[in-house]
């Protein structure tokens, strides 16, 4: 079945350092979404990428969708303690359907 792999599983950084999480799919995706889940909370939507090679920015966050629409990345510049949480990528198959498959997530720890 469709799988979405995400690495690393955990990342510890010092406040001010950069952070990147990577997402890879075994099949071509129609879109990729990114979510953030704070400890004890529920996932909250960050962004959706649809086009091949697309790059979007939200303040210190940069999201990329690969040319082949099989991989994606989230990069945070100069992390802050408020960035703590788990970041999930989620993709949908190119053949349609309504199910969104999540990666395992990358848990970010930021030390002040």
């Amino acid at each position: 079945g469709q799988q979405v792999m995400q690495i690393p599983q955990y990342q510890h950084v010092q406040e001010g350092e950069d952070f990147t999480t990577y997402c890879n799919s075994s099949t071509t995706l129609s879109n990729i979404q990114w979510y953030k889940q704070r400890p004890g909370g529920h996932p909250v939507f960050l962004i959706q990428l649809v086009k091949s090679g697309e790059v979007k920015k939200q303040k210190r966050l940069t999201f990329q969708f690969g040319e082949a629409k099989k991989n994606s990345s989230l990069h945070i510049t100069a992390t802050q303690t408020t960035d703590v949480g788990t970041y999930f990528c989620a993709g949908r198959k190119n053949t349609g359907g309504f199910k969104t498959i999540f990666g395992a997530g990358t848990r970010l720890f930021v030390k002040a």
Binding site: G96, G97, F98
Partner: protein, 115 residues
């Protein structure tokens, strides 16, 4: 505005007991509805999704079932819980907009502990 309600927030159940988690969405019509499960420190596993009343697609074989008796109501059930059913259950909805449906809106989650 749209809201999603999920309950109960927390429950502790003995092995072999039944389960019913309920989710309702307000402020939208004909949403796609989803049940996900998140084991401790793990990712989100899609359990069921529904595109309409009475239409349920199951993603993994298990002793859980889902029903959609009304357009904006989604219920997760089990007749006999197993220890492995423990986890954080999340209901979500999205707009039905063709192939490229949009973002998922999650409920607050239901934390189930089976003893």
């Amino acid at each position: 505005s749209q809201t999603i309600h999920q309950w109960p927030a927390t429950l502790v159940q003995p092995v072999g007991s039944p389960l019913s988690l309920e989710c309702t969405v307000e402020g939208t019509s004909n949403p796609n509805l989803y049940w996900y499960r998140q084991a401790a420190g793990r990712g989100l596993q899609l359990l069921f999704y529904s595109v309409g009343i009475g239409q349920i697609s199951s993603e993994v074989p298990q002793n859980l079932s889902a029903s959609r008796p009304q357009d904006r109501q989604f219920i997760l059930s089990s007749k006999k819980l197993l220890l492995s059913d423990s986890g954080f259950y999340l209901c979500a909805w999205s707009v039905q907009a063709g192939v490229n449906t949009g973002e998922l809106f999650f409920g607050e989650g239901s934390r189930l502990t089976v003893l």
